[in-house]
Amino acid sequence: MGKIVLDRVTKTFGHVEVIPPLDLGIDDGEFVVFVGPSGCGKSTLLRLIAGLEDVTSGEIRIDGEVATEIPPAERGLAMVFQSYALYPHMTVRKNIAFPLKMAGMSKAQIDEKVMNAARVLNLTDYLDRRPGQLSGGQRQRVAIGRAIVREPAAFLFDEPLSNLDAALRVNMRLEISELHNTLGTTMIYVTHDQVEAMTMADKIVVLNAGRVEQVGSPLDLYTAPNNLFVAGFIGSPRMNFIEGAEAEAHKAMTIGIRPEHLDVSQETGLWEGRVSVAEHLGSDTFLHVQTTGQGTLTARVDGEFAVRHGARVWLTPEADKIHRFDESGLAIRENGVAS
């Protein structure tokens, strides 16, 4: 079981309020991603759940039990750190066995569990090495192994992939997702990378300055962002924002159009402009278009679309894909009421 509830939780460091009162519910077995820019308080929030930081006020409940006063060792949670935080003086075997040893298990039980974890994580050949003799990806797997052996109520991941190179990151992303499918244990995952958030999460919590901006499934956030911050943060390349007369025509302060919802034509369209940069990714091409009147807009077109720097193009937004925002940055829904 791994149901975690945060009830009016706050955290202040000295006089600085890092987390203003925050409510959040995480269901058993959910994969929840905390995402936000650097310094938004996402790691602090994770450390509060772990018990590595004390909450200033409010309550954290794990499976219905108030955990606020329980030390981290007794919360039944496992954590994977950004730096992996392996014990450098212990072999891989001893690293993975450490939480079991702390739990007072018998040697036979420990051996069996360590072997199982090593098999799942492809670490069997490395059990007698020290962390210093492993690659980044292997170290990461040891850290995960150390977390899974004790069958925790929930896993906490603190930016676990940010020290890996791009190719390895994609691999580990898949491995962690698979692990979640196999184990079915609650996972809370902190990242600043919205691609990781979108690809892995059942539920994304977008944080900004310690505040929850929106909670929802990846597609919810993508199709119906609550406000300008979420609209701009989720999606890559980011959403185009247009203010002024064009926005007023839609009865909004700001309108937002995602790059893939702009039709690009070389003959005719709504907004005229010149291509300043064309980024060819092969599968897609991102056009950065300097328009007359609407600033620089980004459009996503097919990889085959033949256009080069300086070309004249016309952009037309898909009418039903326009996001509208009011003066305070909140989304205006179909019925015209700000949510």
């Binding site: 030390p71 730096s83 935080a85 702390m102 739990a103 906490l156």
Partner: protein
């Protein structure tokens, strides 16, 4: 051309390093040489360097006149005892200052260090009186306590610098893995800090072994270590250089041998943190 200059430069530097090394080592060398001379040769002018009649008679006489072994045991008990006691107190102190620093932790560290700036003689009288009242004069326990206290700031500082280099996340990982404070210190922190603890231990044994001010002033006979053994050969009736040298050689030999075998560890400990 460049190679030639750098070669010459290297030769000069090597020569200089040897010169400085010999200069530092010379008093010890001279002491050892003198210990093999007769009293007359020891004060002869000009002194002879090697061309004298080598004799072991000083060592024999020193052995006869005083109980070297007892002083040696006292020195071992005092230096090792005070260092171990110091470590027991310093490990938790350094742990708390390195991993749970408070607003004034830096000030506390500086204050502890400032006690080393006080001339010991400034507190001799109060400490002497306290020792007399508590019956600690000329006891091993008394010396262990006083040497532990005077070296404690150094022990704490050395351990503190070591502990600070240990990433806090590893200790947090231990906590998440279910380790209590005791297990955290025992299984994770201490093994990682072993090189640091070892060099702290070695350096402090040497400092305590060589300490002369307190050992001379607070002991008479029973608890007197090797420093007092040396001092007993400088009498008001006159100096017997050869015998004094023999006593000194016997007193410094054990610690010199220990230092020689552990020099790698010591150098690493003393330069830790300076180069990474």
């Amino acid at each position: 051309m460049a190679r030639a200059t750098s070669k010459r430069r290297k030769a000069v530097m090597t020569g200089l390093a040897w010169a400085v090394g010999l200069l530092i080592f010379f008093p010890i060398l001279w002491t050892v040489l003198t210990s093999f001379k007769t009293e007359a040769e020891a004060i002869a002018s000009p002194p002879s360097f090697i061309g004298f009649d080598w004799t072991l008679e000083n060592y024999a006489e020193v052995q006869e006149r005083s109980n070297y072994f007892r002083h040696f045991i006292n020195s071992v008990v005092i230096s090792v005892g005070s260092t171990l006691l110091g470590l027991v107190i310093a490990v938790p102190a350094a742990w708390s200052m390195a991993f749970v620093p408070a607003k004034r932790t830096k000030d506390v560290l500086m204050w502890m260090l400032s006690t080393k700036m006080l001339p010991p003689v400034g507190v001799l009288i109060p400490i002497y009186l306290i020792f007399r009242t508590l019956g600690l004069l000329d006891t091993l326990v008394g010396l262990i306590v006083v040497l532990m206290l005077i070296n404690l700031p150094i022990i704490i500082w050395m351990l503190f610098t070591y502990f600070r280099e240990i990433p806090g996340e590893i200790l947090e990982a231990a906590r998440m893995d279910g380790a209590g404070l005791r297990a955290e210190i025992l299984y994770v922190l201490t093994p990682m800090a072993v090189p640091g603890i070892a060099s702290t231990l070695l350096l402090n044994i040497i400092l305590a072994w060589n300490e002369a001010f307190w050992t001379l002033n607070l002991t008479a006979a029973k608890a007197a270590p090797l420093t007092a053994f040396i001092a007993s050969y400088s009498s008001p009736e006159g100096l017997f250089y050869a015998k004094l040298s023999a006593a000194s050689t016997m007193a410094i030999a054990p610690i010199l041998i220990m230092g020689w075998f552990s020099q790698k560890q010591l150098v690493r400990g003393l330069t830790f943190g300076a180069v990474k």
